[in-house]
């Protein structure tokens, strides 16, 4: 797909635009941070922006928007296990019957 020089020339514009968009999003994240939103909201906003930026890098710079099925397959598998890895341990820790032994209170109100 990208091997043909004329095609590549066309995508150069896209690369520049995506680069610019990424910088804009970075600015938005920083500004949003200055607003001192409530923590859960701040996390949501920051993560949404990060995911957007990440997808743009992956889709455009890494050409994931038009890849071969083997690569999609491998990445899909990876993403499934990534989700398991990110969330199952914390779910298990939270499902534990033990309580933390700690002098200071409010363990779970931390965020």
């Amino acid at each position: 797909m990208h091997s043909d020089p004329a095609e590549v020339k066309k995508s150069v514009r896209t690369y520049m635009m995506v680069g610019a968009a990424l910088l804009v999003f970075t600015a938005i994240t920083v500004i949003a941070n200055q607003l001192h939103l409530a923590v859960p909201l701040a996390i949501t906003v920051a993560l949404i922006i990060a995911v957007t930026k990440g997808s743009m890098v992956a889709a455009v710079f890494m050409h994931l928007s038009a890849e071969k099925k083997w690569i999609y397959g491998a990445l899909l598998l990876t993403v499934v296990f990534l989700i398991v890895l990110m969330f199952v341990p914390i779910l298990t820790v939270n499902d534990g019957i033990g309580t933390p032994t700690r002098a200071s209170a409010g363990a779970h109100a931390g965020h």
């Binding site: 990208h2 091997s3 020089p5 590549v8 020339k9 995508s11 150069v12 690369y15 520049m16 995506v18 680069g19 990424l22 910088l23 970075t26 994240t29 920083v30 941070n33 923590v39 701040a42 996390i43 920051a46 993560l47 922006i49 990060a50 930026k53 990440g54 890098v57 992956a58 710079f61 890494m62 071969k68 083997w70 690569i71 491998a74 990445l75 598998l77 990876t78 993403v79 296990f81 990534l82 890895l85 990110m86 341990p89 914390i90 820790v93 939270n94 933390p100 700690r102 200071s104 209170a105 409010g106 363990a107 779970h108 931390g110 965020h111």
Partner: protein, 194 residues
């Protein structure tokens, strides 16, 4: 028999070997950083309190801009190669290398400030995870710089002999580099802002 599909793509998969290889490598990297993010979640949820505003958002934002720009120069290095523009390619690759170096310089100042204040990894779980995540990410930057230096130096000879294979190498380097950028895109909000 020579090893097939080093340069040309295998018809039924549409891939050359290096392309699949680098993506598999990135898949393992996803799991590596995933484990560290999982660590972050568990430590943070379990922490009595989590510090805010310990890191300089300005420096972090500058580094984000640097890395994003380096991603653009990297993709342009590849694109110019594809358009047979060797000179522009070299220029962009040098720019990418320079931006990577700039990132590290910035990081160096950040690190030395914290270490100077005694806020090393031993200070708290926050700094532990900060140094581990950014340190590992920094190592990835260094690794990318080594590869770029090779492609700028001795590795560049291949362009004459086998331009397609050279372009594949640049593409693989690019994929890796964008991934390093992508990790930072998550590290920045997670460590500096939240």
């Amino acid at each position: 028999m020579e090893i097939p599909y080093i340069v040309e793509t295998r018809p039924d998969t549409g891939l050359h070997n290096g392309k699949l290889g680098i993506w598999l490598f990135l898949a393992s990297e996803v799991m590596l950083f995933g484990a560290l993010f999982s660590t972050y979640i568990i430590l943070r949820v379990g922490a009595p309190e989590w510090p805010h505003g310990e890191l300089s958002v300005l420096l972090g934002a500058i580094n984000t801009v640097i890395l994003i720009s380096s991603s653009v120069t990297m993709v342009m290095a590849w694109a110019s190669l594809k358009m047979n523009d060797w000179g522009t390619h070299r220029l962009y690759l040098v720019a990418t290398f320079a931006l990577a170096a700039l990132f590290l310089v910035n990081k160096y100042f950040e690190y030395s400030e914290h270490l100077g204040k005694g806020e090393g990894p031993w200070h708290s779980t926050f700094f532990a995870i900060y140094f581990t995540l950014t340190g590992l990410h920094g190592l990835h930057i260094v690794g990318g710089m080594v590869v770029m230096a090779y492609l700028l130096g001795p590795g560049a000879k291949m362009w004459k002999k086998n331009p397609d294979q050279f372009a594949n190498r640049i593409e693989a380097t690019g994929l890796y580099w964008h991934f390093v950028d992508l990790v930072w895109i998550f590290l920045f909000p997670v460590l500096y802002l939240l």
